[in-house]
């Protein structure tokens, strides 16, 4: 009856720590998400670890009238090799939360798995949904606890979080820096190597065509695919839509939905026709 003696208060990390789970122990044995610190006497540089990480590249979140659309290419790279062209980088954490991941693929997937369990664990033990603020803090926490590892050149990842806020009746987009600081974005969010090269394009679209949040899903989907295609042209690590269709998901009042391939194919056709 360990649960009753000292309730965890719905904190899944605390539960893992009590079990001595390596994910919950830092090198100093203190509470922390990250496992081992870099080995002593090794120069701290990405090449020093001898590990070539698989990275996910460009993910884009755009508001539309009704919610938030997330689009990601399917490419995962290790150094300059394309490792995988069916990577899934838009992941549902729960019914009202999408996480678009970029950076170290292994770490990002682990974090999504952790967050799914953490949110469910809280809801099931505490018999209430974790608040949006609580969920955002949890994401910040896992990023912050990854700093030591990211500094040593392994496992850096940056997510973009999209939620449907039921209290406000609107979609919201949050992005993070490598230390876990959280920022809310008015119209769009993007992460990954390809996103850096197209930042200006988002603002151009905004200024010439108006806020994404007031346009229809199909229009916004078209914009997202064009932006992704530009990123693919500028960034070798980003796959576009020519070989493998990107993945696209929405979060709205109806929850999380995956856009069917036909809809994406139709959107690509519209772009090709110009």
């Amino acid at each position: 009856m360990s649960g009753a003696d000292r309730p965890t208060g719905g904190d899944f990390l605390e539960l893992l720590r009590r079990q001595g789970h390596p994910l919950a122990m830092s090198a100093t044995g203190q509470r922390g998400y990250e496992a081992p610190a870099p080995l002593p006497h090794f120069p701290v540089a990405p090449s020093a670890s001898g590990v070539v990480e698989v990275h996910g590249t460009t993910v884009i979140a755009l508001k539309y009238a009704g919610g938030v659309l997330n689009v990601g290419d399917r490419r995962a790279t290790a150094a300059n090799a394309v490792m995988y062209d069916r990577a899934e980088k838009i992941l549902a954490v729960d019914d009202s939360t999408l996480l678009a991941i970029s950076g170290a693929y292994a770490k990002a997937l682990e974090v999504v798995r952790y967050l799914r369990h953490a949110f469910n664990y809280y809801r099931r033990t505490q018999l209430q949904e974790m608040s949006l603020e609580g969920k955002l803090s949890e994401v910040s926490r896992v990023i912050a606890q990854n700093i030591a590892s990211a500094m040593s050149g392994v496992g850096a990842f940056i997510p973009v979080l999209s939620v449907y806020d039921r209290d406000r009746g609107e979609g919201r987009i949050f992005f993070f820096d490598g230390l876990g600081a959280r920022f809310e974005s008015a119209e769009w969010g993007a992460a990954g190597s390809g996103s850096e090269r197209i930042r200006g394009a988002f603002d151009y679209v905004l200024k010439t065509k108006g806020p994404f949040g007031q346009r229809s899903l199909d229009e916004v989907l078209g914009e997202a695919l064009v932006l992704l295609d530009i990123a693919a042209e500028m960034d070798a690590a980003t796959g576009g839509y020519e070989k493998v269709l990107p993945s696209a998901r929405t979060v709205s009042a109806e929850g999380v939905e995956t856009l069917p391939e036909e809809r994406l194919r139709a959107a690509v056709e519209r772009i090709r026709r110009g």
């Binding site: 009856m1 360990s2 649960g3 009753a4 899944f12 539960l15 893992l16 369990h117 099931r124």
Partner: protein, 164 residues
Amino acid sequence: MLYSPYDWNEAIRHRSDYIEERLAEGSPVLALSCAEGVLLLTLRGTQRKLFEIYDRLAFAALGQQADIEAVRLSVIDFSHQEGFTRSPDDVTVGRVVAAVSPALKKAFGDPLTAPLVLRALFAEVGRRPDADALYVLGYDGEFRMSRGFAVVAGSPQAEERMRA
């Protein structure tokens, strides 16, 4: 403390009587397998009795609230730990019930601690309705599995009547 065999039987019987007395008034819980999943039914008097444990696991119990809460949290902890370190597919109702049973048996048999007052029902939604698994777990740690239908009530007589 030393017990003669007589004392031991007597002590266990007293504990059993004590628990049965407290369970007698509890309103029953029914579990029925159907095409959509497992339907759990109860008459809600004053306290919540049906709970979500894991992706395909539900828990229902009658008894004292603190004890229900203790078992509930303990099985949620077990399920999430297992589901995270292995996979959600490895969290089955059989494992969950077997994991909590020894602690109940220990509390029931230990004369120095208060026994847990509850009768619990666990339900797992299978891939097909005939794969649904239902477990009834007693305060002494004993459990039995059934398919299709299960019931927990305040007394064995009440359970018998509901089954009929």
